[in-house]
C-alpha cells in the first residue's frame, strides 16, 4: 500500500540552494527566499542599513543591505560534491555575498571525479551585487570546476564580483599540485526583443583552465611564473561607476616598467592621496603584487596576481578602502573576506 506523505515534497535537491531578494512595498528589501540543502549552507545575518547615505547622486538606494554567507559543511568541498545556487536580485535591491574562509577543495582519489560548484545570479535593473569572497584553495590532487553566471536584465544592474584562486596549502609545500581547476565567470544580458536585438547576448566571459593540456611540457607550477594567487575582479554598472574609474586611474598612475628615476620627477609636496598611492605602490612592490585594469565592453576588468595570498588580499582591501564607495553603500561587512 502506497503511503502518501501529508507534507509537501521538499523541492530542494542535494547541494541546491536559492536566494531571492525582493522589495516589499514601499521600499523595504526582504529575503523572500533562502533555501539550501546539504552540503550547501546559507546563513543570513540581520540586514544592516548602509553606513554612508550618499544622496548626492540622487539614487534610490535601498534602506537595508542584505548579506548572505555561502558555506559548506566541513568548510570545504569533498570530491564529487556538486553545489548549485540560484540567486535573484529584484529591482531596487542590494545584496552582499560572502564566504567564511577560503573554499577548500579536498583531495580526490580519482582525477576524473570533478567536484562542481555552480552559481547563477539574475540581476534586475537598479539592483546591485557585491561578491568579494575568500579565495578558492584547491589542495594537491584535486579536480574542481566552478562557474558563476550573471544575467543582467536589459544590460542594467550593477556588479562587483571577485574570483580568485590560490596554489594550495603553501605551508605544506603545495604549489599548484592540482589535477585540474576550472573557473568560469560569464555575464549575459537578456535584451529587448522588440528592438530586434537577440534574446540573450554574452557580454563577458572569463574562463580559466588549469589542467595538463597545452603541449607546453612545462609543469603547472612553473607555468604560473612563481605566483601563488590569481584573481579577477569584474565591475560594472552605475552603482560602481566611481570604483571602476578608480581602478583604471590607479592603473594609469602606476610607474612605468623599466623606467628610471632621474631624480627630477619628485615633487616635494605630495597630497595625502598621492602619499597613500605611493605607499600602496611600495607595498605592491614588496608583496610582489602585479595587476592590470582594462575597460572592456562596459566593464572594468581587473586582473591581479601575487606571490602570497596576503599580498593580494591586502592590496584588494587597500584599493577598495581607499576608494570608499562600497563601504559607503554596502557597509563594512562587504569587505569582511578581505580582512
Amino acid at each position: 500500500m502506497a503511503f502518501t506523505s501529508p507534507f509537501a515534497k521538499a523541492a530542494s535537491k542535494p547541494g541546491h540552494g536559492s536566494i531571492v531578494v525582493a522589495l516589499l512595498p514601499p521600499d523595504t528589501p526582504v529575503l523572500r527566499t533562502l533555501s539550501y540543502q546539504y552540503p550547501l549552507k546559507l546563513v543570513a545575518p540581520d540586514p544592516l542599513p548602509p553606513s554612508g547615505h550618499d544622496d548626492k547622486d540622487g539614487s534610490t538606494a535601498p534602506s537595508l543591505v542584505h548579506t548572505v554567507f555561502l558555506l559548506t559543511y566541513g568548510g570545504g568541498i569533498v570530491a564529487g560534491d556538486s553545489i548549485d545556487l540560484a540567486v535573484r536580485l529584484e529591482t531596487g535591491t542590494r545584496l552582499v555575498l560572502l564566504t567564511q574562509g577560503s573554499t577548500k577543495i579536498f583531495k580526490t582519489a580519482d582525477p576524473s571525479m570533478v567536484s562542481i560548484q555552480k552559481m547563477t545570479v539574475t540581476v534586475a535593473p537598479n539592483s546591485a551585487l557585491v561578491y568579494l569572497p575568500d579565495p578558492v584553495q584547491p589542495f594537491a590532487q584535486t579536480a574542481f570546476s566552478q562557474s558563476q553566471i550573471y544575467n543582467l536584465e536589459n544590460e542594467e544592474g550593477s556588479l562587483c564580483v571577485c574570483d580568485w584562486v590560490t596554489s594550495g596549502r603553501s605551508a605544506r609545500g603545495e604549489n599548484w599540485d592540482i589535477y585540474e581547476y576550472k573557473s568560469r565567470n560569464e555575464v549575459w544580458t537578456s535584451g529587448d526583443k522588440a528592438k530586434g536585438i537577440k534574446e540573450t547576448r554574452l557580454l563577458l566571459r572569463d574562463n580559466m583552465i588549469l589542467d595538463k593540456h597545452g603541449q607546453t611540457g612545462i609543469p603547472l607550477a612553473e607555468r604560473m611564473d612563481g605566483y601563488s594567487v590569481f584573481g579577477t575582479l569584474i565591475i560594472r554598472g552605475t552603482v560602481f561607476a566611481h570604483l571602476s574609474k578608480f581602478f583604471v586611474d590607479e592603473f594609469e598612475a602606476l610607474p612605468r616598467i623599466g623606467g628610471r628615476d632621474w631624480g627630477d620627477s619628485v615633487s616635494p609636496d605630495l597630497t595625502p592621496k598621492e602619499q597613500r598611492r605611493l605607499d600602496r605602490q611600495q607595498r605592491e612592490k614588496t608583496n610582489g603584487v602585479v595587476w592590470s585594469a582594462a575597460n572592456v565592453r562596459g566593464f572594468v576588468l581587473v586582473k591581479f596576481a601575487s606571490r602570497e595570498v596576503e599580498g593580494s588580499r591586502n592590496w584588494l582591501r587597500d584599493m577598495i578602502r581607499e576608494e570608499g564607495s562600497i563601504l559607503g553603500a554596502f557597509g563594512e561587512r562587504a569587505v569582511l573576506c578581505l580582512k
Partner: protein, 295 residues
C-alpha cells in the same frame, strides 16, 4: 570520437604510404620514362591558397605586435643584464602558443565549420578577450584580413561556385560562405556590435579559400609562432638564423600538431585562458617605459 579520429588518421597514413609505394614501384618499372602523376586540381587550388595565406607579405600587420613578448621580457630581466634571453624566450613561445590554442583556436575551427555563426562567434570572442591590448591586436589583424579578402581575394574566389572540382552541395556552401563574408564586411561599417576578430574570420576565409581545416588550424598557430619569433629577432633576443632554426624545428612541428589535435573537438564555450599570467603580461604592456611594438 578519439578512436574514429585515430582510425581516420591511420587510414590517411596508410593511403600516403600506399601512394608512396606506388610511385616507388612505377619509378623502378622503367626509370627512363617514369610516369609523373599529376595531383588533382582541388589539391592544387588549396595549396595555392595556403601559400597566399602563409606569405609573410600578406598585409595583416602582424609585425606590429609581439603578443606580449616585449612585456614578458621586461618582467623577466636577466641577471646579469648581459645573460642570454633565449631560454626565457623558449618558455614564452610555448606558453604563448598554448594560450592561443586554448583561447582562439576553437573560434578558428567554429568559424570554418559554421560560417553562418560569424556574428555570434565575433561577439563571444570579443567578450572573452579580457585585455584591451590583445583585443586591439586581434581586431587590427581581423580587419586587415577582411580587407585583403575584399580587395584581393574576392574577385578570384567569390564567383566560381562549381569550379575547382567542387560538387554542387559544396558549391552551395561556398556561395553562402562568400555571401556571409560580404555581408559581414558591409555590416562592419555600420554596426557598433561587430568587431572583426582574427580567429573566427580566419576560419571563414580559409573555408572560402578551400584550405583543408587541419591545414587552416595548423597555419593559424604557425603564423603566430612566426610572428612571435620574428618579434624576438627585432627585440634582439636572437639572430635571424637561430630564429629560422626554431621555426624549422621538429619540436615546434610536434607542438603545433599536438595543439591542433587537442583542440579539434573543443567547443567555443570551453575556450579559456590556460596561462593566467599571460593576461597580465599582455595587459601590462601599456605600462612599459619604452616599447617597440604595439602590443
Amino acid at each position: 570520437m578519439s578512436t574514429t579520429d585515430s582510425d581516420q588518421q591511420s587510414l590517411k597514413d596508410e593511403i600516403a604510404d600506399l601512394e608512396r609505394r606506388l610511385q616507388d614501384a612505377k619509378s623502378r618499372l622503367s626509370p627512363s620514362d617514369a610516369i609523373e602523376t599529376l595531383p588533382t586540381l582541388a589539391n592544387d587550388a588549396a595549396l595555392h591558397a595556403l601559400f597566399l595565406l602563409s606569405d609573410s607579405a600578406l598585409p595583416l600587420g602582424s609585425f606590429a605586435f609581439s603578443s606580449g613578448l616585449e612585456s614578458y621580457l621586461a618582467h623577466h630581466r636577466p641577471s646579469p643584464p648581459s645573460a642570454s634571453q633565449v631560454p626565457s624566450f623558449y618558455a614564452f613561445l610555448r606558453l604563448s602558443l598554448s594560450t592561443l590554442a586554448s583561447t582562439a583556436l576553437p573560434y578558428v575551427l567554429a568559424g570554418y565549420r559554421s560560417p553562418e555563426d560569424i556574428e555570434t562567434l565575433d561577439n563571444d570572442f570579443d567578450a572573452s578577450t579580457p585585455c584591451t591590448v590583445a583585443r586591439r591586436a586581434s581586431i587590427a589583424q581581423g580587419r586587415a584580413l577582411l580587407t585583403v579578402w575584399d580587395r584581393s581575394f574576392k574577385t578570384q574566389y567569390a564567383g566560381s561556385t562549381t569550379a575547382n572540382g567542387r560538387s554542387e552541395t559544396e558549391g552551395k556552401a561556398h556561395t553562402s560562405a562568400v555571401e556571409i563574408l560580404t555581408s559581414f564586411s558591409k555590416d562592419l561599417r555600420t554596426s557598433s556590435h561587430l568587431n572583426a576578430h582574427l580567429a573566427p574570420l580566419w576560419g571563414v576565409v580559409t573555408n572560402v579559400l578551400s584550405v583543408p581545416l587541419r591545414d587552416s588550424a595548423y597555419l593559424f598557430l604557425f603564423s603566430h609562432a612566426r610572428t612571435v619569433i620574428s618579434a624576438a629577432v627585432r627585440a634582439s633576443v636572437m639572430g635571424p638564423y637561430q630564429a629560422q632554426s626554431v621555426l624549422a624545428g621538429a619540436e615546434l612541428q610536434k607542438r603545433i600538431r599536438g595543439l591542433v589535435e587537442e583542440g579539434w573537438n573543443k567547443k567555443v564555450e570551453d575556450a579559456g585562458q590556460s596561462v593566467p599570467v599571460m593576461d597580465l603580461w599582455v595587459g601590462r604592456h601599456e605600462k612599459l617605459y619604452s616599447r617597440i611594438f604595439n602590443s
